[in-house]
Amino acid sequence: MNERVAELRRQSLQAVPTITAERARLLTDFYQQGVRPISNPVQRALAFKYLLENKAICINDGELIVGERGPSPKATPTFPEICCHTLQDLDLLDAREKIPYAVDAETRRMQRELIIPFWKGRSMRERIFDQMTAEWKAAYESGVFTEFMEQRAPGHTVLDNKIYCRGMLGFEHDIQASLDSLDYLSDPDAYSKQEELRAMAICADALIRFAGRHAEKARELALAQPGPDPRRKQELERIADICSHVPAHPPRDFWEALQSYWFVHLGVITELNPWDAFNPGRLDQHLAPFYERGLADGTLTREGAEELLQCFWIKFNNQPAPPKVGVTAQESSTYTDFATINTGGLKPDGSDGVNEVTFLILDVIDEMRLLQPGSCLQLSKMNPDRFLKRAGRIIRTGFGQPSIFNADVVVQELVRQGKSIEDARNGGTSGCVETGAFGKENYNLTGYFSLPKVLEITLYNGVDPRTGRTIGLETGKATDFESFAALWDAFVRQLHHFVDIKVRGNNVIERLYAAHLPVPFLSLLIDDCIATGRDYHEGGARYNTSYIQGVGLGTTTDALAAIKFQVFDRGAVSMADLMAALRDDFEEHEPLRQHLVNKTPRYGNDDDAADAVMQAIFEAYYRAVHGRPNTKGGSYQINLLPTTVHIYFGSVTGATPDGRRAGEPLSEGISPVQGADRRGPTAVIRSAAKMDHIRTGGTLLNQKLTPQLLADDSGLSKLAHLVRSYFKLDGHHIQFNVVDAATLRAAQREPEKHRDLIVRVAGYSDYFCDLSEALQDEIISRTEHKSF
């Protein structure tokens, strides 16, 4: 990287994540102006406009892509209309050891004097908890599931190529056309649609104005530019020109394309704090025409394009995730906001999507080594091996990125869910591993669901043994089950019971967002909100999917396998002894615990006996969730990923029959229990492939490899073969941590020497030293594959 990028990167890495009261203050100002005689969508649009008209404009020295969400890099706003932080929350954010956000006295004062007095009692978080039933709260507090929408807005979605073809003015034209076609005589929703569409138009205009303010600022800076070097002055003038053109109009070149996206991105993450922070989707395909044209007409070089991309990368890294507290902080303990750049895959016509920009992006990832944005390969059988091997050379450095997705399976998943083949090929994955149709789908993660906790409650006849409260169905005492089938039936009944509770809660929360916090700006970006005049939260997207993410598949499999084989099939252990051991957390039961660990078929070893149990759990979970209607005209689907929740769920789950002690982490994603896979990566892959990935919306498989394994090109080929084989078996996703356990232990002992150590956590990478000690231990204990 050149000096400019190195300096920007250094500044980004050194910037301290802070809380800024700017957005909360402006929003409060806006709402304090009193009740207006306007509809809710228009009010939200005017609030958005007010924010963009009044927030500070930040253009950092030397940068080529401009715009920050806060007043400076890593200044992170709060969203009091969703979650109004208490002063204790702020103190905790400021003081906590992991993932802190600095809170200065002025911010704290503002929170106390202005923001809390206005928003307390009005936030979405309070509305949600107020509406949830006692049984929902009991299950939530016990750690059966988490709730994604309680501090952050539903917003998992990704942009397609529309902003590169049409500008905001084009969208305004479409909005007007939609307004003109409203049928007030026979459509009872015509007025609602009118208000939503008007709101969208206000938002489109607001973003143009926001860009215009950057143009003005750039011109001011250009005039004030001291010294004889005309270069920066010219750059600032160019930036001013760009910001006057995009996003109002379609971009004319590579630079404008990136800047246009960035304004849109800022709009989305300023309007609300949606999960997964939005992302540009198929960036390589979107940029390829601009790149090719630029090279052809001599206005762009490869180096120039690379520099612009590097500047673009820094913008992502400057935006830490909105601060999370409580259970949400535990389930997603990271600064990463899950913007993920997809590369490769297929074109809409089904042909190979890899192009020169793909390789350019991989070079940028390799050189920048930033936490954000995350990156992934959409690897199709049509893509060349060169693409996979280029990524392998990044993976083997231990950076944990990019992760690798099976593009052909992702397309099948999307088609199975009812997308058109073109929309499916335009889709990909975002966040951790979630499948979606880019630019056309509202696909929300709604919360993690702990399968081992459900099993635990089953074994305790509906009681959560940690609290002694009855929170499930009374399906019978463990010692009374006469067969494994009887226990299994009880487990499935509990599963449906808790999924019912979760879905009921979700369906209320979805309506609360639709009613109170419409997102007209996000809506104008996602088809077919403009055409239908409906908000993103109101089912305006072409496709609407609600995901519930199953967690602890490996733990549940090994636990049920232990019961099946040791108690019922072999009679080696009595249920009474097993239950006594679980109650005692295996204290004084170590031989029994060892027996369970070592003498039970376990998932991850290509052992059909264990894997059959896994398949049964998968089917049961699928049946419990799949196809239930959500409130947006779409349906529920499953996926299997954990972020960091397997640590939290583990902490509230007692000893399990697989020999896991109380409080220890659960297995993560669809990976085997940490250390249970003893037959190498091919066995893990074979086991994991026995579930029907195509019926999910994403699964997450972690593999840890030692650096030696990938040291030479032959090792790299082996990595490619492993990935290709897994994908032939229709696996959805695989990612690799390439680091030896000794290095991780050293980093644990001397974090200051290993601050740069990035490891793959779940669907994302993070700085190892920022992880909790429990999570660090868990990553070290994930089986490290090597081969002699």
Binding site: E590, Q594, N598, D606, T682, A683, G715, S725
Partner: protein
């Protein structure tokens, strides 16, 4: 049905032949090299491994043992191998996996079932099966049956042999072997006998006959373990280079640095490692040896 004694089946084996492979380790060896890193492969019979660090001193194994070979004193488990008949019943009872029976008797069908699980990886990577040991030719009938079964299923086969076996046994399997990994250690027969417990006469003779087919004959990679102070002498390397070059058809020589990964196994078998003081060769030394071999016109690759 043909049965064999197998001491390990290792998946994702990537250093014993091309691609991703499954290596089947057959028990029993005609040599006992001082540097052996699979000492559990030497004896033809099943035997017990004792993992002291896994033992939780629960005493379940004492009840299971009908040979009175186990004792638990002050929480430390001991195995008296002079009494142990190698029945393996203690391993069944040991909850912690501290006692492990090494050397399962398996049928061809059982081994093939394991091998066939990873066919998709062989297909993708150009891999297959490697049969190693011990010395796989110590179980010639089982080895031949296994190789034939692989060939029937179009699975690529590699045999990793030290060549110390009756020529007819080698001849019998040769049609079913896609690639031989053929170990050479020492050219001086006295030294060979001293450090491996056997003569190299048969080994060299067998390699000559295998190579007699010329370039159209059997694919052979010669493998040379570099054990400091034993096999790394200039003269030994030069003689090996000269010998292999004279065969005219050897595609490649792999030099394998001595490593200490097998030392834990000696402890589990309660036998002493003969090379306590030996350290792995340096990268520089490996490079010098490679250069020496290359001077004979051989293609040399670093393995292991």
């Amino acid at each position: 049905m043909s049965q064999g004694v197998v001491f390990d089946i290792k998946k994702f084996s990537i250093h014993d032949g091309p691609g991703i492979r499954t290596t089947v380790f057959l028990k029993g060896c005609s040599l006992h090299c001082a540097w052996c890193h699979n000492p559990e492969g030497i004896s033809a019979n099943g035997e017990m491994w004792l993992w002291e660090n896994r033992c939780i001193a629960c005493g379940e194994c004492l009840v299971a043992c009908s040979d009175d070979a186990l004792s638990l004193v002050d929480g430390v488990l001991s195995l008296d191998r002079s009494r142990c008949s190698g029945c393996g019943s203690c391993a069944e009872f040991c909850p912690a996996g501290a006692l492990e029976y090494v050397g399962r008797t398996m049928t061809i069908a059982q081994v093939m079932a394991e091998i066939e699980r990873d066919v998709i990886f062989y297909d993708e990577s150009g891999g297959g099966v490697t049969i190693s040991g011990g010395e796989p030719l110590c179980q010639p009938d089982f080895l031949e049956a296994l190789l034939r079964a692989c060939q029937e299923r179009e699975i690529h086969t590699v045999v990793d042999t030290a060549g110390s076996a009756p020529p007819e046994a080698l001849r019998a399997i040769a049609p079913y072997v896609d690639l031989f990994l053929y170990d050479l250690k020492l050219m001086d027969d006295a030294a060979h006998q001293r450090f491996t417990g056997g003569s190299n006469r048969l080994i060299l003779q067998n390699l000559r006959s295998l190579a007699a087919g010329g370039p159209q004959g059997h694919a052979i990679i010669v493998r040379l373990p570099i054990v400091p102070g034993i096999t790394d002498g200039d003269e030994n390397i030069a003689e090996i280079g000269r010998f292999v070059a004279s065969l005219g058809c050897i595609q490649q020589v792999d030099i394998l640095p001595y490593h200490r990964a097998g030392t834990g196994k000696y402890g589990r078998l309660q036998i002493e490692h003969g090379l306590q003081e030996t350290r792995p060769p340096s990268n520089e030394q490996m490079a010098q040896i490679a250069a020496a071999l290359e001077s004979f016109g051989l293609a040399v690759s670093h393995g292991g």
